[in-house]
Amino acid sequence: MAILSVVLAMLLSTGLAAAHAVAEGDKGYIQEITGIHLIPFMYLGAKHMVTGYDHLLFLLGVVFFLYRLQHIAIYVSLFAIGHSTTMILGVWFGWNVSSYLIDAIIGLSVVYKALDNLGAYQRWFGYQPNTKLATLIFGFFHGLGLATKILEYDIAQEGLLPNLLAFNVGVEIGQLIALAMILIMMGYWRRTDSFWKHAYTANVLMMTAGFVLIGYQLTGYFVA
């Protein structure tokens, strides 16, 4: 036990020993700048979306059985309205929600959508919950998740609102880029005869990933 605490202390001191403790990467960059930087914040928003596997999984779930462009547009817009609202409100009012809990709910959104795609709610309850409403509500939670990440970035107060709006525009651009990639892959896949056979398995795998996300984040909540 004593050895463990010594090792821990050493590890901690390594982290802290850095002179004037600079953060690196995106966070470090944001902490170095003040004022309005629209295009850099758009870039960061898009990057967040394209590299955020939890958002991508949910998006995949949403468009899995959508193939008409106008349907895709409706669902993606609902999701965008949802996450934009809570992202901007959350950062503006500094809602201090645990990112672990929010990310666990995002994992839950993946599980929910996978079960929805599998037709589980109709089979179990003989009832189909409103898919559009669910997309909007989970959009709210995804936005809260974005807000907690941005709060961790510690953006300067000067130029906060324009930078946030630019970040949000970037999130939408990133979402469209991710969506384009997903739709192209789905296009090839849907054309194969085995699509309907594999669709079931794919949604089960997606649900598994959602459960892993939930467990990962909840463990973080209790351990960290």
């Binding site: 001191s13 020993a17 850095a18 403790a21 600079v22 690196e24 960059y29 930087h37 054309r191």
Partner: protein
């Protein structure tokens, strides 16, 4: 899978459409990579688009921060892993020298507490992107009055201290023109200021201090 209508074969994209989409995606990705991602992440900007969009600055700052963090890690290594540290004087056993240093430090510290206060004024000029650090050698609880100004410009700053394996950040700020107050050392060691010029012109920072410290030095 009840909440979906099975599309007919004719409703699905044709093979030609899909191939065209894939080609478009590859071209778009290449353009995004060269014009946006490489400038933003690494400061590599072959087309000049990144500079135009003010993204190259982000890549340059990230690269600079990564290099500085790496230098910090290298500098800190001897403290963390004494076995690999080059011994300052091989004749003396490492642990003993550490202990002696401590005793000397305590002794000097005792004298420092007794000494008169002093006052100084220092100026440093920072090129765009450059950082500088000035520290006061202080004992725990000692106080020093300070006032610094960026002489009409603005800098980022971090008022902090380190010593004896401890680190503290008293205050941080971005785009600040000046600051003044009383610095009280939280422990024995070096306490002072790190400034960085993130404007695109040179900035001169002038620091005035007076109080209970034994030495003022520019660290970087």
């Amino acid at each position: 899978m009840y909440n979906s209508d099975t599309p007919t074969r004719a409703e699905l994209p044709t093979s030609a459409q899909l191939l065209k989409s894939t080609a478009v995606a590859i071209f778009a990705a290449a353009a995004i990579l060269v014009a946006i991602v490489l400038p933003s992440e690494y400061g590599i900007d072959p087309t000049g688009a990144g500079r135009l969009l003010r993204l190259t600055e982000m890549g340059e700052i990230k690269t600079q921060l990564a290099e500085e963090a790496e230098q910090d890690r290298i500098r800190d290594q001897p403290n963390v892993v004494p076995a690999f540290a080059p011994a300052p004087s091989p004749a003396k056993p490492l642990q003993g020298s550490g202990l002696l240093d401590r005793i000397y430090a305590e002794f000097l510290v005792g004298r420092a507490q007794a000494q008169e206060t002093r006052s100084d004024e220092m100026s440093v000029t920072l090129a765009p992107g450059e950082g500088a650090e000035i520290k006061l050698v202080m004992v725990k609880g000692a106080q020093a009055n300070f006032a610094w100004t960026a002489n009409g410009a603005a800098v980022n700053f971090d008022t902090h201290g380190d010593g004896g394996g401890e680190n503290i950040s008293y205050e941080k700020g971005r785009g600040v023109a000046d600051d003044e107050g009383v610095l009280e050392a939280a422990f024995d060691g070096n306490h002072g200021w790190f400034w960085r010029n993130r404007t695109d012109a040179p900035v001169t920072v002038t620091l005035k201090t007076n109080g209970a410290y034994s030495e003022i030095k520019r660290m970087m």
